[in-house]
Every structure is written in structure tokens, then in C-alpha cells.
């Protein structure tokens, strides 16, 4: 019997200094934040992070874990500027900036084991000035010059899902799967945190088929971490905790040490207690757009 269950800290123990890590979710939604906080507590360093970034990137940047960021944006939606990313970026953090779709395309190229995928995205912009991007000429009659978006191959993808069985059959129940599937396909290994680990029969397949993220052969390990995306959302189970994100955003400069002490240098149970407990998280209202 396949049993891929492991504790949260055992996932972190699989990571190494200098690794390239793709973090799933999008901005303030379905980020594996418990795992991110565990990395922030660890001795890991010099990570290259690939993300549709939110507080995952900000927290790792504030904790000095990022050597290079591969990104299209870092934002917390209603708090458009992520202050910890902003501070690190202004202090000279290495970045490789690209369009959201180029990030998608780079992961897709890696997922398909291609060296690159051609795209027009980036043409005519300063993104194309970066020597890490090269162009390719269409071999057909149009002869168009396109950007050859190179494959982005993470060593590890870290995702947060709603349900998993012990074999790594995972479901994301939220309305947008984002690009987590491509991250899992692009990475050498994928570890997930799950709200709940359930018996296979309770995954609700085939009814939930559309929520089945990826085949289980791509999942290396599963850690059960209820509320593991907080303060980002894992809708419909719970919503974005904007009040907490505002407190996190306000913890700039000298205020960071107190935030870190209370919310980062705490194991997951202590963190959940510090943010008000399970009922308080479940009671956070859905955001209005």
C-alpha cells in the first residue's frame, strides 16, 4: 500500500539550500502558508522561488530565504503592494521578471520536457531586454520573430490542496485551480499540504473529477495541515483573512520581529491559536470584489 503521508517538518527536511521551489496558488489564494512559515523557521537559504506571488513571497523575502525570485507580480489584491517584497526588491533582491502568461508557458514547456515554447508575449517590452530570453524565428512563411520562453524546471513544487488520500490523489475544491497542475508537472518532486487526508472513497470521485488536480504519480508527499493556507484562502473551506493580512503588511521594519515571534516562530497549532482558532478562521467572510 502506498502511504505518502508525512509531517510538515519532514517536507521541509526534503529541501536543500539553493533549490528552485515553485509555490502554488495565486496572490492571496490557496498558498501553502504553513509550509512557507516552516521554511522561514528552517535553516534553508539561497532559494530560487517561482510564484504567482503573494504573502508567500513576502514572508520568505522578509526571512532572508530568497536568492532569486522568478515572478510576474507579488500582490495581496486589496493590499496591492506587498510591503515585504517591496522592501527586498528595493534592497536589490535578484529577480527574473516576466508576464504571467510567460511564467505559465515556462512551466508548460518544462511539463512537456521541451526546451522552450514560442510566444509573442514580451515582444515590444523591456521584459525582452533580459538576456535570459532569446528569440526564435518562425520556420514557416510568416517568418515572425517570437520569444522562446525557456522551460522553468523547479526542483520541488509546494502546493496546498483541500483533500488528499494517503496515496496522493489530491482535490482542489476552490473555483480556480490556478497553475498548480503545471507546477507539479514541471517539478522533479511535488509535496502538498492538505486540509484533510481522507479515505479514497471519500474523495467523491467521479463527481469531483473536475477538482482532481493531477495524477498521483506526480505527488511525492502529503502533510495533513488544516488551515494550512491561512491567511490566504482555501475557499470554499475558508476565505482570505484580510484583517490578518493587514497586520502582516503593517509589520514592516522594526515591527517585523514581533510578527515573526508571534506567527512565524510558532508551530502550526500555536499559529492557529494565535490567529484566533479554527472557528474564527471559518467565520471570516468572503471578500467582495
Amino acid at each position: 500500500m502506498l502511504d505518502k503521508r508525512m509531517p510538515l517538518d519532514a517536507v521541509v527536511a526534503e529541501l536543500r539550500d539553493g533549490m528552485t521551489i515553485a509555490i502554488g496558488g495565486w496572490a492571496t489564494r490557496r498558498k501553502p502558508m504553513a509550509l512557507v512559515r516552516a521554511i522561514a523557521r528552517s535553516g534553508l537559504k539561497d532559494l530560487t522561488v517561482i510564484a504567482y506571488g503573494g504573502p508567500d513571497v513576502g514572508l520568505l523575502a522578509a526571512s532572508g530565504k530568497i536568492r532569486q525570485l522568478i515572478f510576474a507580480f507579488v500582490s495581496m489584491d486589496q493590499i496591492p503592494i506587498e510591503p515585504h517584497f517591496k522592501a527586498s526588491r528595493q534592497a536589490g533582491m535578484q529577480v527574473w521578471e516576466m508576464d504571467e502568461g510567460m511564467l505559465h508557458w515556462g512551466l508548460r514547456a518544462a511539463a512537456m520536457h521541451l526546451p522552450f515554447l514560442p510566444t509573442r508575449v514580451g515582444i515590444g517590452t523591456a521584459i525582452a531586454d533580459d538576456p535570459r530570453f532569446r528569440t526564435v524565428t518562425s520556420p514557416y512563411d510568416d517568418g515572425e520573430t517570437l520569444i522562446a520562453m525557456p522551460a522553468l524546471r523547479p526542483d520541488v513544487a509546494l502546493l496546498h490542496v483541500h483533500r488528499s488520500d494517503e496515496k496522493g490523489n489530491v482535490l482542489t475544491l476552490s473555483p480556480d485551480p490556478f497553475f498548480d497542475e503545471l507546477m507539479a508537472r514541471a517539478a522533479d518532486r511535488t509535496f502538498v499540504t492538505a486540509e484533510r487526508i481522507v479515505p479514497t472513497a471519500e474523495l467523491g470521485l467521479p463527481g469531483n473529477a473536475r477538482h482532481h488536480l493531477v495524477e498521483r504519480s506526480l505527488i511525492t508527499g502529503v502533510a495533513e495541515v488544516p488551515f494550512g493556507a491561512h491567511p490566504t484562502s482555501a475557499a470554499p473551506d475558508y476565505q482570505i483573512d484580510m484583517a490578518h493580512l493587514r497586520a502582516y503588511a503593517a509589520a514592516e521594519g522594526d515591527a517585523w520581529a514581533a510578527y515573526r515571534d508571534r506567527y512565524v516562530d510558532a508551530d502550526h497549532a500555536a499559529y492557529i491559536a494565535a490567529v484566533g482558532g479554527a472557528e474564527a478562521i471559518r467565520a471570516v467572510p468572503a471578500p467582495v470584489y
Partner: protein, 264 residues
């Protein structure tokens, strides 16, 4: 001010709506509240064919009011990000977005202010601007028309392509580059000047031409003859705007919330 009189914010919503007036059945995306209200007004008045989203991942049958509301809007379709990319790469969208900087080529910036390696201000990152700019028509909104926003020279980091042949491979215009209109708190402009130069379309009521010139980092083409005045929204449009923004969020977005017609 009489109760039924339009504010400048109302006029800007209506001017934003007008960018989608003649569009085909496709996605109208307005980013930040005034462009979003514009897209919603366009769908409810000028162009019911338009599709709009909830700003997250659903297409809506009818536009949702902004701010707190009781009823969930009726969804008519699914718009996860992967589909949003597929749709926009297919060209079936017109976006009206609010960059931090724009230059005379129509190149826009939301990434950094100052030096790229160690910026004076790190903003969002290029987001989807590069792909949007060469995939479908784009328009721009500036709530504060000044020389920090409408800059001399190039923007600090070119996130979206514009009419700048120096940046085009072999000087060939990108496949679907099409910049439509610029709406600011002073005027409406388009790219109808010689060589796609930025051209004045209309001044908002009571705004002198020199104020536009003094607050723009590049020359704006002004055609000979009388200068048009931006239309003030009529009673029907105002009623829709008030329904779409029942908490008057738009009043807080334009400094001082002045009336649409500037006092002489």
C-alpha cells in the same frame, strides 16, 4: 450642487464606458473601480453584448455593484486564470487599465519606479501587461494627470508594448498591438495623431488646454478647429452609475470629488 448633477467621477465613469461603445461580443475588463464601473455602465447602456467578470473567476450575467452588497450576482460562466489567458491570447478582449506611468508611445509601467536593479519604488511587477498589449485592444485610465504619470521620454520599465518601433523586432509592428484611448481627470486622448502620436479627443468641461499641456511630459497633438468637450452623463447613465456604486466609493477616488463641470 443640485442632487442630480454629475461629479467628475461620474463623467470619468461615462468616458471609460465609451471606450467599449462599438466593441464586438467579447470580454470588457476594467481594472480599478472607475474603469470597472465604466465597463459595467457600458454593458448596461451602450453595448449589452459585452461580457464582464466578477473580478475573480466567474462571468456575470449582470454587472455587480462595487462594495458591500447583499445578493450574490448571477454567474453565467467560468473564468479561471488559465481560461482568461487563453481568451486574451485569442484577442477577444478590450482592457482598460490604470498604469502608474505612460509615455508618448503608449508604453505603460506598473513594475518599478527608478533604477531596475535597485528601484526607488517596487510596485506590482509587469503582471499580464506584456501579453495584453500585443494580444487585444487596450485603453488607459489616469485619475491624476500629471508629469509623473504621463512622462517625458520612456517609462521607467516598459511593461506593455506601444508604438515605439525601436522596441519592435526588425521594426515590425507586433501582431495585434492596438491602443485605443486614454481617459484622465483632465481630458480624453487617443492614438490618432501622425504615426500613432497621442492626440487630444476632448477636454473635460472647464479644463483649459494649457493645463493638459503643462501636466503632460510629451507633446499632445491638438487638431485645428474647435476642441470637443467630454460629454456629461445623462440622467439615465447617472442612475445606472449610482446603482452600480451605491456606497459612492467613486467619490473618494478623485481628489476633492469636484463636479463634472469645473467652476469658472
Amino acid at each position: 450642487m443640485a442632487e442630480n448633477q454629475a461629479t467628475l467621477a461620474d463623467l470619468l465613469v461615462a468616458a471609460c464606458a465609451d471606450v467599449w461603445r462599438n466593441d464586438p461580443e467579447w470580454l470588457a475588463t476594467g481594472i480599478t473601480p472607475i474603469p470597472r464601473l465604466g465597463a459595467s455602465l457600458a454593458k448596461l447602456s451602450l453595448n449589452p453584448r459585452l461580457m464582464i467578470t466578477d473580478g475573480e473567476n466567474m462571468f456575470l450575467e449582470e454587472p455587480a455593484p462595487i462594495g458591500p452588497r447583499d445578493d450574490g450576482p448571477v454567474a453565467e460562466g467560468w473564468a479561471p486564470y488559465a481560461r482568461t489567458f487563453d481568451n486574451l491570447w485569442g484577442g477577444r478582449r478590450h482592457a482598460l487599465v490604470a498604469p502608474v506611468q505612460l509615455d508618448r508611445f503608449g508604453q505603460a509601467n506598473i513594475s518599478v519606479i527608478g533604477d531596475y536593479a535597485a528601484p526607488k519604488a517596487a510596485l506590482l511587477g509587469a503582471r499580464g501587461f506584456p501579453g495584453n498589449s500585443i494580444s487585444h485592444p487596450n485603453s488607459y485610465f489616469f485619475p491624476q494627470h500629471n508629469r509623473r504619470a504621463l512622462v517625458e521620454g520612456e517609462v521607467d520599465f516598459v511593461c506593455s508594448a506601444g508604438y515605439n518601433p525601436v522596441r519592435w523586432p526588425h521594426g515590425k509592428i507586433p501582431h495585434r498591438l492596438e491602443l485605443r484611448r486614454i481617459v484622465t481627470n483632465l481630458c480624453v486622448m487617443d492614438f490618432g495623431g501622425p504615426g500613432n502620436a497621442i492626440r487630444l479627443v476632448s477636454l473635460h468641461p472647464g479644463v483649459p488646454l494649457d493645463e493638459v499641456r503643462d501636466n503632460t511630459g510629451f507633446d499632445v497633438v491638438v487638431e485645428e478647429g474647435a476642441i470637443a468637450e467630454t460629454a456629461i452623463p445623462d440622467a439615465a447613465a447617472l442612475a445606472i452609475i449610482r446603482r452600480l456604486d451605491p456606497h459612492d466609493i467613486r467619490a473618494s477616488l478623485i481628489k476633492g470629488n469636484p463636479p463634472a463641470v469645473r467652476a469658472a
